[in-house]
């Protein structure tokens, strides 16, 4: 499985690129030439130079340093959201698929209602009620997306439970833990990973959009969407300010989408690849 993933060139490039970006975020304090929040009134809106690799913004803050520290907010928060959503969703899905009966019916009913509403409305309603802040944004994205994971995991638990090898394993009285670890978990993990990677791009866009509106990460913390909001201040005089953060978001989201598509091809060869 890993071999097949490594043979897929697009997936490999995306994976390497994302890992490098993640590492750059982790080592941001060592890599950044300046304090990301240090305003310098004399050196505002400078072009690229040796001292400021990507220039400075309208408050004289080093854009390159802010970009590096922005990885910690934009990408890390998105990753946290993705992991929590996938883990909790999978857990509820497994419970629902195993227990069946009334609990299952109730969970599925709730999922149906949640799935029928567009994400944008769910996210906006929750942020609207709970107020701005990164914690609330993560919660909103979690609620908006969790039903997907629950439904898909539950579906595969039920379908795998009726597979012949599962029935055989049960007949010969394999321990419950063995069945779960050997037969069920690998299949479910693959599906959850595909779904989560495809979702990651969406979550990044969602978090940076809300931060751009001022509902997410609060200034002066560096965040790519919030950086674009800063760039908006000088859109008419210095439009080049918007290039760097926008490009950063686009590259990361594109990588996640490509990686998700490639993972689906590799991990799930049964489904014919039809999406573009």
């Amino acid at each position: 499985m890993t071999q097949r993933l490594l043979n897929n060139k697009t997936a490999l490039i995306c994976l390497i690129l994302l890992s490098i970006i993640c590492l750059m975020g982790a080592f941001a304090p060592f890599l950044a030439p300046h304090d990301p929040n240090l305003a310098d009134v004399i050196n505002t809106l400078l072009p690229m130079s040796g001292e400021y690799p990507l220039g400075t913004d309208y408050l004289g803050r080093c854009i390159y340093s802010r970009l590096l520290f922005g990885v910690r907010t934009t990408l890390y928060y998105s990753l946290i959201t993705m992991v929590i959503t996938a883990a909790v969703g999978a857990l509820i899905g497994i419970i629902s698929g195993y227990l069946r009966g009334k609990v299952d019916a109730l969970i599925m009913r709730a999922c149906e209602v949640m799935l029928s509403f567009p994400y944008e409305i769910i996210v906006l309603s929750i942020v609207g009620i709970l107020g701005p802040g990164i914690g609330n944004i993560i919660l909103a994205n979690f609620i908006a997306k969790i039903a997907w994971y629950v439904r898909i995991v539950r579906g595969s638990v039920i379908s795998f439970n009726h597979k012949n090898y599962m029935l055989y394993s049960k007949t010969v009285k394999s321990p419950q833990r063995f069945i779960f670890a050997k037969h069920l978990a690998p299949n479910i993990t693959a599906e959850v990973i595909i779904l989560a990677t495809l979702d990651l791009g969406w979550i990044i866009l969602s978090i940076s959009t809300l931060s751009f509106l001022g509902l997410g990460v609060q200034p002066p913390t560096a965040e790519w969407g919030a950086m674009l909001n800063d760039a908006k201040e000088v859109l008419f005089s210095n439009p080049e300010q918007m290039i760097v953060p926008g490009l950063a978001i686009m590259v990361v989201v594109a990588c996640c989408n490509l990686l998700g598509d490639a993972l689906r091809d590799v991990l799930d060869p049964r489904t014919e690849h039809k999406q573009c």
Binding site: E120, I121, L205, L228, G246, V253, C276
Partner: protein, 306 residues
């Protein structure tokens, strides 16, 4: 229909309950946004005025029955303005914006989806696929900036903010529809590719119908089924998506109203916004259901065929 009503009731109840679960006291918020220092008596006075001294369920039924009659209460931030008035004032802007975007969305995504399915793996299909890929990765607000920079600053063709004339809607509606266009092109392309395998297509070709007729009359009509359902959700998504667009292009619509209400903790407005979105969602689904039976008579007389 009954299911839709139950969903709406549930949404209204959740919206109301969650607002009431917030640790901040609405009476205190109402005073603070008007720059009054909240004293004990003032809070008590406003509590009675807002009806907050009554039990929870009583307040819910009051709020619901008033809301159904179009009375959403008064805004916290501006006591002279009713929430209904605010909504009514901003709704036309949003509706115009979403309407233009919807027309653009349909006008662009159907031809592109069909072309890319018909010319599968041709360079035309590759261009469309690249476009889809780029537009799914691009943040919507970034695209807005690029458009403003190019058309308003560089070429000086179109205005970048406000909503006083039709030309003001050009950039916002393009940006808005770009956010969702990829989904629809992909949907139409995939469902065209699916239906192309069907027998009646070969039959239509065998009858000697022209390729034009086969594609645009027979194939497209049958492929639109799946896309129609998605379009029902799409209308609401467009209206919800206006929050970003309206704040960038300074259009005084529903999205901007909701955003400023969130910042000001103006709960009556937020509750009303959620309720209106829920209603719109149910309504647009209903309309799409009806439209679907018009397009596809099989849905209407399903019983007869079985």
């Amino acid at each position: 229909m009954l299911g839709a009503c139950i969903t709406l009731l549930l949404v209204s109840f959740i919206a109301f309950t969650m607002v009431n679960l917030i640790p901040a006291d609405p009476a205190e918020v109402a005073l603070r946004v008007n720059d009054t220092t909240p004293s004990e008596e003032a809070i008590e006075e406003i509590r009675i005025k807002l009806g907050l001294d009554q039990p929870f369920l009583v307040r819910y039924t009051h709020w619901l029955s008033a809301s159904l009659q179009g009375d959403f209460g008064t805004s916290f931030t501006n006591a002279n303005r009713s929430v209904f008035g605010e909504l009514a004032r901003s709704f036309p802007y949003t509706l115009t914006l979403a309407g233009i975007s919807l027309v653009l969305l349909i006008a662009v995504s159907i031809p592109l989806g069909v072309l890319s399915a018909v010319y599968k793996d041709h360079w035309l299909d590759k261009i469309v696929r690249t476009f889809i890929f780029a537009s799914t990765a691009m943040p919507n607000f970034w695209l807005a900036f690029i458009l403003i920079w190019f058309f308003s600053i560089k070429l000086y063709w179109l205005p970048s903010s406000g909503a006083t004339s039709w030309s003001h809607y050009a950039l916002p509606s393009i940006t808005l529809c770009m956010a969702y266009i990829a989904t629809y092109i992909r949907l139409i392309r995939n469902s065209m590719l699916d239906t192309m395998q069907d027998n009646y297509v070969s039959y239509a070709r065998a009858r000697g119908l022209s390729e034009y007729q086969v594609i645009w009359k027979h194939l497209l009509k049958n492929s639109l089924q799946t896309s129609m359902t998605a379009l029902g959700i799409g209308v609401v998504r467009l209206i919800a998506g206006t929050v970003v667009i309206e704040s960038i292009f300074a259009i005084p619509g529903l999205g901007r109203l909701a955003l400023s209400a969130i910042f000001n903790r103006d709960y009556p407005v937020i509750q009303a916004y959620i309720l209106v979105m829920g209603c719109l969602f149910v309504l647009s689904n209903l309309i799409i259901d009806i439209l679907q039976t018009v397009i596809d008579p099989r849905l209407k007389s399903e019983g007869e065929y079985q």
